[in-house]
Amino acid sequence: MLKKLKPLSLLLFLALPLMLAGCSTPEVLDPKGPVASQQSDLIILSIIFMLTIVAVVFVLLTIILVKYRERKDHDKYSPELHGSMLLETIWTIIPIIIVVILAVPTVRTIYSLEEAPQPKTAEAANEDPLVVHATSINWKWVFTYPDEDIETVNYLHIPIHRPVEFKLTSADSMAALWIPSLGGQKYNMAGMQTTLYLQADHVGTYDGRNANFTGEGFNEQRFKVYADEEADYQQWVEDVQNSAPELTQYKYDNLLIPGVYEDGTAEFNGTHLQWIDHSKNADYTLEAWDRLGYEPKNPHAKDKSQNLLREDEIPYYQQDNTVDNSDEDMDSEEHAHAGHE
């Protein structure tokens, strides 16, 4: 039996480098910015410790199974042995030490990720982070650049070497913005705002997505991140400002109807913040459904069609519904439950 156990553990050890060699470096361990690289460092440190622990246990297990399996002369058998202060102390102390060694960099990184990455150059030090609001809607992403007064759907451009301060919220289900190459995820939640700092240090196109399950179209709630040189980024902003269509409230409200965005991506002049900031008003989405005549339907219903109203059928859109968002800091609803500041 024993001879069969050994290859099993060997198999596991062999599988590891094989898998690493077989495919390219996993995305998370191939960081493209300072946030992801802090996380990747922490992960690699922990993998080293964990592999050591695994190795110790595997070796001990193998030795014990080989040496103390039932055989004819069992002169080593000592049934009276059932405790040892020394050994027990050793294997209590060592894990404690390992936990402490891992806890220190963990806590340090947790605190460090709460702030924008440190600028590398003097000129970058003068720049504030780029603020982008990322709003999750079943099953699309809306990115809002408040200072540039533009909005995109399902893609975004960011300049490299400059921290991006994502203001996360959701129009409906709880989602999570995740761009593995740039750093870990954080939840988007309706009625509140969370902040995620990310930064790209290399020009490139990265995959981003919603990582937190939100139902039928979850799969397709993905987006591309284009990390550009500063100048290219500015150029793109100008292009959008010059050529993109105006965002109207009716158009925006239509985005709130659950579904995958048919056109793939889009860009607009103006932002939805002029009517609604979902982090301050969670009811808005359901009100918009009512206005448009959308009704949630049982997924097993035979007839799932919707009778949505046209813009000219809805008096609400004939009036000006702009709200004042200038006093942003004053009533932005911070988290007020356990664990939040």
């Binding site: 992960i43 439950h337 939040h340």
Partner: protein
């Protein structure tokens, strides 16, 4: 709920149609067989109304095996859908239903009843008792579990299954985003089963504290009994949280409250918190008894007392306390303050310390022992390395800053399958094989058992090890398909192959039950393995009589039965019989639970009159029960003599 008549039964899906037909045919076959062999009254009198902890244990285990099959089919459907990019085997809606039911079934209707079944059968024997503290309640617990399970399982053919994940996060699970009966099934089925679990918690907690035989002090209890005791304590503290949370979400969905909703300042995150305040202790509820089972088996087949018994006890108690202080690690990414995340990172890592201590104690139990590689021992040995992999990746997840990258990915999926399968599932197999002769009077065939073991363990690693890498490569959990450019194809294919190997191993395991029933030699003594250490092996016959012990054993040390054998004491020589008081069977629990099922079914579809009729029925059965003055019967000395003389003939 405005459900059209033709939407009540789910139609239009060939997979579901197949299931419907096979359920129908299976049902007809069972009813026909019972009628043909005239077994109805036997079934009702001997089993369904029985308050015997051993029979209830077996019924729990049979239901759990059935659910392992159902949940396993769900798992294979998930893996089939993910084998290649762009598969169209399941559409997203169907996929969501399948993984949601998979999770709920495996944790609540497979792992829990399997372990509770083993606890039911073994713990009263191990503490030298004749039954549990509240035998009637025990039967009621079983029936509420069974009805909850049945209700949950019919959802995929009637009305549609829940599709918001086993976590049922709000606001996704509220009416606006999950319309239809699906999520109601989740809420009501788990609610009913949960009541049963809570009652089991109280029942066994009292049983272990109050019904131990003479001489069995707390520190002489077997490790399985210890872990069961602590598990029951966790159940008593954790399940009420689930009960309340489910009731709150039920109110949101059925009666229009706004507790977790988007509208009306609802607080969806409260659900997430409540769920995990129960959910994390829950994962320890399903691992602690497993630890107990491995402790028994390893010490039996190494022929040594458990190493560092006291440290083992201290570590499970520590784990149980810590398990209530870590729930936030399930949502480090919620934007908590750095202080909160640091605190919960450290408490979570701290749990790995007592867990690590246990691993070394198991290893050193075998040190200088005489290890024999029986199938239950093989499962227990395979547990150690595999669980260590699951445990160390747990520590990695506990490092909050890194968890932002693992959360919601296949890395997490792999972690919890490593701990749950190599921990809980291996333990269920190991325990079932180990105690099989106690339950059925014969062993399972070792050769076939070893085939099942190797195929399962290898398949398990082939299935889940690649998932760590998929997670690190950015594959989120719960996606129903992916693109070729994602680069996840190869590892997913490997993973699917592993899953089917596990499926094959399960079939071999079940075949072994049949094969051994036909061909295994019947046991002649109570100590089937010849190496028994605890009192369950001290019974006269292989399968204990309904009163368990003709004369209650007296305990002088740890591993009491081993101790007796060493000292040459023969438990069976003592023939100083006295009449034994035993509880009578009762039919009200089955009826009461059926009425609960009816009421809940009505609520699922918002047919309130059905709910009300069911609720009134429940109260009537309660009143009937309260006028039941039957407080058991005596087994006469003659009958005991007769039974004992017949034993092992």
């Amino acid at each position: 709920m405005d459900l059209k008549w033709n939407e009540f039964i789910i139609t239009g899906d060939p997979l579901i149609l197949g299931a419907q037909i096979s359920i129908l045919l299976g049902g007809i076959a069972v009813v026909a067989a019972l009628t043909y062999f005239k077994k109805w009254s036997w079934l009702w009198k001997e089993w369904l109304t029985s308050v015997d902890h051993k029979k209830l244990g077996i019924m729990y285990i049979l239901s759990a095996l059935l659910m392992l099959f159902r949940g396993g089919i769900d798992g294979l459907m998930i893996r089939t859908q993910l084998a290649k990019p762009g598969m169209e085997f399941l559409d997203p809606q169907h996929y969501n239903e399948v993984f949601s039911t998979h999770g709920v079934i495996m944790i609540l209707f497979m792992a829990m009843p399997f372990l509770i079944g083993l606890i039911n059968y073994i713990v009263p024997l191990q503490i030298g008792a004749r039954d549990v503290a509240f035998p009637y309640l025990n039967n009621l617990s079983f029936w509420t579990f069974f009805v909850g399970m049945a209700l949950f399982n019919i959802s995929f053919i009637i009305g549609g299954s829940p599709d918001a994940g086993w976590t049922g996060y709000t606001p996704l699970a509220t009416n606006e985003f999950s319309p239809g009966p699906g999520q109601n099934y989740y809420l009501l089925a788990i609610q009913i089963a949960g009541i049963g679990t809570l009652m089991t918690g109280i029942n066994f907690f009292v049983t272990i504290l109050k019904m131990r035989t003479k001489g069995m002090t707390l520190m002489k209890m077997s490790m399985f009994t210890w872990t069961s005791l602590i598990t029951m304590l966790i159940i008593i503290f954790a399940f009420p949280v689930l009960t309340v949370a489910l009731a709150m979400q039920t109110f949101d969905r059925l009666f229009g409250s706004v507790l977790f909703t988007l509208q009306g300042d609802g607080n969806p995150m409260l659900w997430v918190n409540l769920f995990w305040v129960w959910g994390h202790p829950e994962v320890y509820i399903v691992i602690l008894p497993a630890f107990g089972i491995f402790s028994e088996i390893i010490s039996t087949f190494a022929r040594k007392q458990l190493f560092a018994y006291k440290a083992m006890v201290v570590s499970i108690v520590t784990i149980s306390v810590l398990s209530f202080l870590v729930w936030v690690h399930h949502f480090f990414t919620m934007g908590n303050s750095a202080e909160a995340n640091s605190f919960f990172s450290i408490t979570t890592m701290a749990i790995s310390i007592p867990t690590g201590v246990k691993i070394f104690n198991w290893l050193f139990t075998m040190y200088r022992g005489r290890i024999t590689f029986t199938t239950p021992m093989l499962w227990s040995l395979a547990f150690i390395p595999n669980f260590v992999i699951g445990g160390v990746t747990g520590v990695m997840l506990a490092m909050a800053a890194a968890d932002y990258q693992y959360h919601n990915t296949y890395f997490l999926v792999s972690h919890f399958h490593y701990v749950l399968i190599s921990g809980t599932v291996f333990a269920c197999f190991a325990g079932l094989i180990y105690w099989y002769p106690k339950m059925f009077g014969h062993k399972l065939n070792e050769k076939i058992g070893k085939w099942a073991f190797w195929i399962f363990v290898i398949g398990f690693n082939v299935c889940f090890f690649p998932q760590y890498f998929l997670g690190l490569d950015g594959m989120p959990r719960r996606i129903s398909t992916y693109l070729p450019e994602d680069g996840w194809t190869g590892l997913n294919m490997i993973s699917t192959i592993g899953a089917f190997m596990m499926g094959l191993a399960f079939l071999i395991f079940v075949y072994n039950i049949y094969y051994s029933w036909r061909y295994s030699p019947r046991e002649k003594t109570g100590d089937a393995w010849g190496l028994g250490r605890n009192l369950e092996w001290a019974t006269t016959s292989s399968i204990p009589p309904h009163y368990n012990f003709a004369v209650l054993p007296e305990v002088t040390g740890l591993d009491p039965y081993w101790d007796m054998k060493e000292k040459g004491l023969d438990q069976q020589k003592n023939t100083d019989y006295k009449p034994i008081h035993m509880p009578s069977n009762s039919s009200t629990p089955a009826i009461m639970s059926a009425l609960m099922g009816m009421a809940a079914f009505g609520l699922v579809f918002q047919w309130y009159w059905v709910g009300i009729v069911g609720a009134v029925g429940i109260f009537i059965t309660m009143i009937v029960r309260s006028f039941d003055y039957n407080d058991g019967y005596y087994v006469s000395v003659e009958e005991i003599k007769e039974t004992e003389a017949k034993a092992n003939k």
